[in-house]
Symmetry: C2
Subunit: 115 residues, 2 copies
């Protein structure tokens, strides 16, 4: 991996507004669209995303390894694995390593930039 | 792969504005940001992207296989392989299969939506 602040994200991504994520160990950058958000996550192995649900979400693992539960199914997702979580379906994750994922949210207000 | 119009992209992505791409065999959808564009590509194996250069570009292969040349180096990129092309560096690609890639462009005007 390139040593861009130890992330796979070059400066053009790390210069996007940072997101206020209410989970310890998670940093993220926001590409804000009119009806859609794209978020670039950098997640410590110690982070835990508890089960929750919201708008539709599509994402892909850039680097790392996570256990993602979608509805009733838990699977390990690695570099290049992508997933779709329909609106309202419960999901949560734990992380086996530091993990980088990018996610698209079908809601322009899913995340807020840090003030 | 899910059968979302035979793409890995759910409706929430295929409902984004389509991009006018001047390369035969390429479809793409645009997430327009203030200073940045994110483009979801669906590329036929017959497509050819000739050498060209522009703003900085970061991308990842979602499905498929491509030969990507960046500067002097040509490599095969598959599902989960990501790359960074600095501003002004010549690059081009050919495709061994139908290929899905998503790219971030450090320029809000790199692509225009179809009229």
């Amino acid at each position: 991996m390139k040593d861009w602040d130890e992330t796979p994200y070059p400066e053009m991504i790390r210069n996007l507004p940072e997101v206020d994520v209410p989970v310890e160990g998670v940093r993220a950058w926001l590409l804000q669209g009119k009806d859609t958000q794209m978020v670039f996550f950098d997640i410590a192995s110690t982070a835990e995303v508890p089960l929750h649900s919201h708008c539709g979400q599509w994402g892909i693992v850039i680097e790392g390894e996570m256990e993602l539960t979608i509805g009733e199914e838990t699977k390990t997702y690695r570099k290049g694995d992508w997933y779709f979580i329909p609106e309202g379906v419960s999901h949560g994750a734990t992380f086996l390593t530091r993990t980088f994922v990018i996610d698209v949210f079908d809601d322009p207000g899913r995340y807020k930039p840090k003030q």
